[in-house]
């Protein structure tokens, strides 16, 4: 019988993966004097690319949480130069936000996880460090689990005590009208080495009981946002606008938004609505725009 379970821990093996290819990419930022705005300027001082993962410096576009339009921050867009991850592929993406610097990280397109020829497990492992006074705003596009995939998407974010974070995640179960593949999404946010916000969604055929009324029900979109603001000012009470979306305070300096949607659009609308309700600088009521997000 085919074992549909996902590997619990996947040793980081730089020389090879289960059957596919291995790819490593990284981004690093540091401070670079004072910018035109009078605030600290950030610069990209490390950019490693290996197809399919190609990070590129980019400019401001659309609404940006927390840093909206700030000309002095570092902006990088992650592009995928080839299809993937495919079954057996093993990607490692390292992000290092140096002390005092600010990085806005986006993606050009969604990540479509395909099973490949043999349907072997695939892994995307993001290892992120944000040093003292650093800020990471990460707004990736959705991870789509195509039928037959066995993908682990792991994001480890280590924050300094006074680091700032905005991280958004959208997981979609299958392309339109398709049965989903297996997706295990693991987000570990730690601050000063201590656990702060840890989530894991085991979805699709390998996620036992995921499609039940105690887990995600019939939702095909599962999303979350984690905001860490060391200066405080975040809500201290739950805001639950509709039964499938909630803003949940973790502590005085951290909130988490969790939303479900019947599809990708419904999910995005719920997350956007929760952020708009949270207000500036994290979210804004936005109408239709030709510029995606």
């Amino acid at each position: 019988m085919f074992d549909s379970s996902l590997p619990e821990t996947w040793a980081l093996n730089p020389t090879g993966s289960a059957s596919g290819m291995t790819c490593r990419a990284s981004v690093a930022t540091s401070t670079d004097g004072t910018g035109s705005s009078g605030r600290t300027r950030s610069r990209i001082d490390g950019l490693r690319r290996q197809a399919p993962l190609v990070p590129r410096p980019t400019g401001a576009s659309g609404f940006e949480p927390f840093v909206d339009g700030d000309p002095d921050i570092a902006r990088v867009a992650l592009t995928t130069a080839a299809a993937g991850p495919l079954g057996g592929d093993h990607y490692i993406f390292d992000v290092h936000v140096g002390a005092g610097s600010t990085l806005l990280l986006r993606e050009v397109s969604a990540t479509l996880v395909l099973p490949g020829a043999h349907g072997d497990p695939s892994l995307m492992h993001c290892r992120v460090t944000v040093e003292s006074g650093g800020t990471l705003i990460w707004v990736p596009e959705p991870v789509i689990a195509a039928q037959g995939c066995h993908h682990t998407h792991r994001v480890d974010i280590d924050l300094a005590e006074d680091a700032r974070l905005f991280y958004r995640e959208e997981l979609l179960l299958g392309r339109h009208g398709e049965e989903p593949g297996s997706l295990s999404s693991r987000l570990n946010v730690r601050r000063g080495g201590r656990a702060l916000s840890i989530q894991r969604f085991d979805l699709g055929p390998a996620g036992k009981g995921f499609d039940t009324p105690s887990v995600v029900g019939g939702a095909l979109g599962v999303g979350s946002v984690v905001i860490v603001e060391p200066d405080g000012g975040l809500p201290d009470a739950t805001a639950i606008a509709d039964p499938k979306s909630a803003l949940l305070p973790i502590d005085d300096t951290c909130v988490q938004v969790n939303s479900l949607g019947d599809d990708g659009l419904a999910l995005r609308k719920r997350l956007d609505a929760a952020l708009a309700a949270l207000g500036e600088p994290w979210g804004r009521e936005t109408g239709w725009s030709a510029v995606p997000r």
């Binding site: 969604f201 009981g209 039940t212 009324p213 105690s214 887990v215 739950t238 973790i250």
Partner: protein
Amino acid sequence: MRSRSALLVLADGRLPTGGYAHSAGLEQAIRQGWVTEIGGLRDFLRGRLHTTGLMNAAFAVAAWNAVDEFMLAEAAPARSSNAESTSESTSGTASTTSTAEALLTLNAELIARTPSPALRRIGAWLGTLMLRSMRSIHPHPLLETLPKDLQQPLVYGAVGRVLGLSDADTAATILHEAVTGPATAAVKLMHIDPFQAHGAIIDLAADLDEAAERATDFGRGDPAEIPALSAPLSDFAAELHEGDNVRLFAS
């Protein structure tokens, strides 16, 4: 077989530890229309045991193992009664402190995996209730040294250890409670009879056993690697339920 009898007592819903007042989100799930009939209940229970249930059981196993040092120090004076009383009390204090620290670290890990403030409050309250009743039911030095407001699964781990249960049996107890709690609540909340509710539990026996094994493996490993196994609808149900004025169960 002291541990077998103790296991049955701990897993018995009649043990007065406060769990009977909770439906584990089922009441709200019914109110929201997410669960409407026996099939829905069965799904609800299956989802719960593979997520929250498994995670809580893993943390109970971690707590069971975290109190090792204290239990060994407790057992030590009996073996070496000639040892100086001062050194005994020093080592006793040290093991008390390190045990408390280990439990607080586990508590922080569990809280980081519990985004719903309502569920964190309920977990701490049920932990407090269980500790309070077990101190009377079965007094033991370990129960006097536990930090305040521990989440219920960690108290379960300590209680299981004190009662002589294995860590795997403690995990099985938590998983049993994770499904029997809402299943018995269902009889009061839905148009189903107790036979159907218990049928649903029996149907899940293989799932429960498997989850207990997985939880035991996770709990014996690095606590930082215990999976969070998020259940957003349960989080939403807990938050919605707190804001509901008319309710039969506390959660």
